[in-house]
């Protein structure tokens, strides 16, 4: 049984209330940090733990905290990014619904470490129940003296506010989130300056994912070294994975990083294998924006070793044969899934969610969606496939924020690994409308084709 950190007490009845959470050892980290540690000690522990941002990029949290500028007389802010909108990712919502106090506790400790007296939780607008749950949890914590003025008599003041967003995917990008939090249009800012220098209201700001912040309290309780022992290599600790798709047991699972992908998909403890006795075709390993991988590449590395659920192992092989851990939205597709339709669906999402600020993303996402729609509905041309590759290359890396990359990668990778399925769609439009391509040869190793351009 793997170690659970965030979801340890998830099945305890009433864990969403303050009393039960406190009985099970909750808010010990606040007491420990505020009474016995200095702010720098907490940052040091988080650095030692090797905790990496759980929102998608995987940037070390401790490092991010140490970059925070600390000018005199200027307030600093901690902003929790709960604008979880990546298709296939629903871990933060789960965490906030069932153990909201885990997040509040982490927020108090993290705010203390950063010297922030005001912190915000930016929640996606669609998550209205979670907003209520968090506000109730904050009220309970405040009632018990863990929030407000002079927390536990230590002289440290903190207020946490919950701010609902409008439900835009782009507001999950940290600078767009800050713009939205300031009450402006959620357009990403041009970096530099980074939020650590000039973030919310021009003040130094740290933006962290819900899961990263929630993990901080365990790190403070048990020490960074203990946390670093869990996991593998530079991927330390546990990660919440939102498993969805054609599997027997979809849901949110907490895994120790370093678990093999094969075990995660097939073991009864986790996904429980592919539903209805079908075979695995493809996996999107980290939310819709990461490259899709066919079965042979997701289960095995190019050297024949099993692929592991860790930042490094999933990225092994670069974009030619690898993918990314991303935000942990694990989407499994069986032999009945149509890759073209799936790619079109993702593309449609990015078209809809592009903010429209910079031209490659604004125009390119819509273009890709239209071409994919054409292929999916049997009006495609052979040249469309190369066109898609070219358009995705023109978007990738040329935009202000990573949404352009996120829109380009699924399309580019789907064509890279499933080009024959796209060609089949073009050549057999009627058959593509009636049925689907099936498993073909993806279960077996196929040579990786690198396209021109």
């Amino acid at each position: 049984m793997a170690q659970k950190i965030l979801l340890k007490n998830i099945n305890v009845p009433g864990i969403n209330t303050f009393e039960v959470y406190r009985q099970y050892g909750g808010y010990a980290a606040v007491e420990k940090a505020l009474k016995t540690m200095s702010a720098d000690d907490v940052v040091e522990e988080v650095k030692k733990s090797g905790l990496r941002g759980r929102g998608g990029a995987g940037f070390p949290t401790g490092m991010k905290w140490s970059f925070l500028a600390k000018p005199e007389g200027v307030p600093r802010y901690l902003v929790c990014n709960a604008d979880e909108s990546e298709p296939g990712t629903f871990k933060d919502r789960y965490l906030m619904t069932h153990t909201p106090h885990t997040l509040i506790e982490g927020m108090i400790v993290s705010s203390f470490a950063l010297g922030a007296n005001t912190s915000y939780i930016y929640v996606r607008g669609e998550m209205m129940p979670q907003i209520r749950i968090l506000e109730k949890a904050i009220a309970e914590a405040k009632n018990a003296g863990f929030l407000g003025k002079n927390i536990l008599g230590t002289g440290y003041d903190l207020e946490i506010y919950v701010q609902p967003g409008g439900g835009a995917y782009i507001c999950g990008e940290e600078t767009a989130l800050l713009e939205s939090l300031e009450g402006k249009r959620g357009n990403p800012r041009i970096k530099p300056p980074f939020p650590a220098i000039a973030g919310l209201y021009g003040c130094p700001t740290v933006v962290n994912n819900v899961e990263s912040i929630a993990a901080v309290s365990w790190i403070v309780n048990n020490g960074g070294d203990e946390y670093a022992k869990i996991g593998i290599g530079r991927s330390t600790g546990t990660k919440l994975i939102s498993a969805s798709g054609n599997i027997n047991k979809p849901g949110v699972y907490e895994i120790e990083l370093g678990l093999s992908v094969e075990e995660f998909i097939y073991s009864d403890e986790y996904c429980g294998g592919i539903a209805n006795g079908k075979r695995l075709k493809a996996v999107v390993a980290g939310g819709s924006s990461v490259p899709i991988l066919p079965a042979n590449l997701i289960l095995k590395l190019s050297n024949g070793q099993p692929r592991l659920m860790s930042y490094e192992s999933l990225a092994e092989g670069g974009f030619a044969t690898g993918t990314m851990l991303g935000s942990g939205g694990f989407i499994v597709m069986d032999e009945d899934a149509c890759i073209v339709r799936n790619t079109w669906n993702f593309s449609r999402f990015y078209h809809h969610e592009s903010c429209g600020q910079c031209s490659p993303c604004r125009e390119g996402t819509g273009w890709m969606e239209k071409v994919l729609h054409r292929i999916e509905y049997g009006h495609g041309k052979m040249s469309d496939i190369d066109l898609l590759v070219d358009v995705s290359k023109k978007i990738e890396g040329n935009t202000i924020c990573p949404l352009g990359d996120a829109a380009a990668w699924p399309v580019a990778s789907a064509i890279r690994h499933f080009r024959d399925e796209f060609e089949w769609h073009v050549n057999n439009p009627q058959a593509a409308m009636d049925g689907n391509y099936g498993l073909a040869n993806y279960a077996d190793p196929i040579p990786v084709v690198e396209e021109a351009n």
């Binding site: 835009a168 782009i170 249009r185 041009i190 078209h351 809809h352 969610e353 592009s354 903010c355 429209g356 600020q357 910079c358 031209s359 490659p360 604004r362 125009e363 390119g364 996402t365 819509g366 273009w367 239209k370 066109l387 358009v391 290359k393 023109k394 978007i395 890396g397 040329n398 935009t399 202000i400």
Partner: protein, 319 residues
């Protein structure tokens, strides 16, 4: 920080003040190495970074940290560092990326140049002529909007807009009580006023001049004439609100349009007020200074009496 920093753009070295952007450093050098800019406007704070036509490659970040930047950067918003090496037209990667951006800008832009008032002084025309491909691979319907009057003097033709945000910055910084901005998201976003509110401000006409394309046009000039049939003349007047320095566009004896004076990058030298722009359309209102200098490559110069080159003398004997 008064020390100059040294930056190399396309193998040309220049020393500039710290804090200068790559684009402005390139403009100091001048010539072909200046990246095109559709959204950057030196007089507007916060503009730039959106259109991505000014992308350049930084092959050496600075003297201290010589690593190249991982991605192409927007030169209008990236400040120079000492020892920075920038590649613009010497980098095939940049040229390719710019071609892509031009193609993206054009996929939703209507091909109505023959009836567009901006034709001839349109930045997008110049850009696609210089950096674009000769064909579009886009085979779908373009987005369309209804034309809107914002105020009684300005026409908004949203189909042509490339969402550079210049007019939004102008309205925000030059006029008070901004009422127009961006509505919607993605390629459905549009410039608009809240519930068709009219723009009523003394300096609102400047949004026409900052617009790089024909999305915002002067209703007093619409369909009057092509710009290359008109003659630009610098003039000034005593104006209480603005500097009064303008360009008059003559057709014969008649002033058919008044605009602000633009520099070689198409940027206004000074913003002018609406009274000068829309109401003073008689020669007697103005003190004429002389013909406006027009770039010889510009189509406007085709009818210009001053800078016109003499036709080559053809020796008829050789035929």
């Amino acid at each position: 920080m008064s020390e100059k920093v040294k930056v190399t753009i396309d193998n040309i070295e220049i020393e500039v003040d710290p804090g200068t952007t790559i684009l402005n450093a390139a403009r100091m050098i001048g010539g072909d190495i200046v990246p095109p800019a559709m959204c950057y406007y030196s007089k507007l704070k916060g503009s730039g970074g959106k259109c991505r036509t000014c992308l350049v490659k930084v092959s050496q970040g600075s003297a201290k940290d010589p690593r190249p930047m991982p991605k192409l950067v927007a030169s209008c918003r990236t400040t120079v560092m000492d020892g920075m090496v920038v590649q613009n037209i010497t980098s095939p990667e940049v040229i390719e990326a710019r071609k892509g951006v031009v193609e993206f800008l054009l996929i939703n832009h209507p091909l109505d140049c023959p009836v567009c008032d901006q034709a001839g002084e349109c930045h997008l025309q110049d850009l696609s002529f210089e950096h674009g491909k000769d064909q579009s691979r886009y085979e779908f319907k373009r987005r369309t909007f209804e034309m809107v009057d914002i105020g009684d003097k300005i026409k908004l033709h949203m189909n042509r807009c490339i969402l550079c945000y210049r007019c939004v910055f102008t309205a925000d910084q030059i006029t008070d009580n901004r009422v127009h901005g961006i509505l919607g998201r993605g390629d459905a976003s549009e410039i608009g006023t809240y519930i068709s509110k009219a723009i009523d401000n003394d300096f609102s006409g400047n949004v026409i001049d900052v617009c790089p394309v024909g999305a915002l046009t002067d209703k007093t000039f619409r369909f009057k004439n092509r710009v290359w049939f008109t003659k630009p003349v610098n003039a000034h007047c005593d104006c209480e609100k603005c500097s009064g320095k303008v360009t008059l566009w003559y057709k014969g004896e008649e002033v058919i349009r008044v605009t602000g004076r633009k520099d070689q990058y198409g940027e206004l030298e000074e913003f002018i007020c609406n009274t000068c722009r829309f109401d003073k359309k008689k020669t007697s209102d103005w003190t004429i200074e002389g013909p406006t200098k027009v770039d010889r490559r510009s189509v406007v110069s085709s009818n210009h009496y001053d800078e016109k080159e003499l036709l080559p003398v053809i020796d008829r004997k050789i035929f």
